[in-house]
């Protein structure tokens, strides 16, 4: 389990590197990229905010989509509250590590003690790798012209990789197509970032109660990133 956590941490490092490169390509400083990863520490939201800024979106537009994406960490927190106990300070620290990877690794363990260990080991491994990789990416990104190396497509390509597992169940696929369509239609008519926020309306396809014939409608475990 420890080696699985560290492997996962290393894999996350690749995302962190891409985030660092993209953040400086979007006009951020190395310090801004690093502080974002240290304090925000939730990949998809960070990517979303920076990609809106990169295309000229305002701070509030960048925040909107990022916050909708961050909301799922609250759901992970619900699941982890059965695993993490102790003082308020202890749980407040655990909250910062409540992300896709730590929740997924903890959920995969058979008993409460193993779940707790998996949560902390994975959370800490991912935190360290994510932040070191962001620093490296930001430094490298500052030294080169990202467009020459095609690095401006690193974010959308990263989003493609992140969304792929969600398309393998029916409602995920419908929500993805709807979200993409809403965004495409709104781009010419609304400020940058607003189409992303409006695309969240596509989650309403989750409202009807699934019938038995479509039991595979939704993932019951967090899908990584």
């Amino acid at each position: 389990m420890v080696s699985a956590s560290i492997t996962l941490g290393a894999a996350v490092g690749v995302f962190g590197f891409v985030f660092g490169v993209g953040a400086v390509a979007a006009g951020g400083s190395v310090a801004q990229a690093c502080v974002t990863s240290l304090l925000v520490f939730t990949g998809a939201s960070q990517f979303s905010a920076v990609s809106v800024v990169a295309l000229g979106g305002t701070t509030s537009a960048a925040l909107g989509g990022a916050m909708v994406l961050a909301a799922r960490n609250a759901v992970y927190g619900l699941a982890m509250s059965r695993v993490i106990s102790g003082s308020l300070a202890h749980r407040a620290l655990a909250a910062q590590l409540t992300i896709d990877e730590s929740t997924a690794m903890a959920s995969a363990q058979p008993d409460p003690v193993a779940k707790r260990h998996a949560f902390w080991i994975t959370g800490i491994a991912v935190y360290v790798c994510w932040n070191v990789a962001t620093l490296v990416g930001a430094v490298v990104g500052s030294a080169i012209d990202p467009a020459t190396f095609g690095l401006d497509v690193a974010f959308p390509a990263g989003f493609v990789a992140m969304v792929a597992p969600h398309l393998r169940h029916r409602r995920g696929l419908i929500a993805a197509i709807l979200g993409a369509a809403i965004c495409l239609v709104l781009i010419p008519f609304t400020p940058v970032g607003v189409p992303i926020l409006c695309a969240s309306a596509a989650v309403l396809v989750g409202l009807p109660t699934p019938d038995a014939a479509h039991a595979d409608d939704l993932p019951d475990e967090p899908v990584l990133m």
Partner: protein, 99 residues
């Protein structure tokens, strides 16, 4: 990118984590809300793909990014690792820009 964005992001992201783990704790959410929240990544990530591939500011643009992302989609569908998906997309776009 501004410092105020960085700090707002940090505050908002932490608030959601704290809300779930500490404030709501082991109480259960309505099932319909649970199902909708599970679809957030699918809806928003695909919108972000469209925005990052087809737009420059408020304009819809088709350029060298599109073939790069097409390569990314094929590779992701074939379950290629993250670094391969991103690397191949960047390489495709970079090579087309050299033409």
């Amino acid at each position: 990118m501004s410092w105020s964005l960085v700090l707002w992001l940090a505050a908002g992201a932490y608030a959601f984590k704290f809300l779930g783990l500490v404030v709501i704790g082991s109480r259960r959410l309505p099932a319909a809300l649970d199902r909708c929240l599970a679809l957030v990544p699918a809806a928003l990530l695909s919108a972000l793909v469209v925005q990052g591939t087809l737009s420059t500011g408020q304009e819809l643009v088709i350029d060298e990014r599109l073939p790069g992302i097409a390569v990314a989609i094929v590779l992701a569908w074939r379950r290629a690792p993250f670094i391969v998906v991103v690397g191949a997309a960047a390489l495709t776009t970079a090579l087309l820009r050299q033409l």
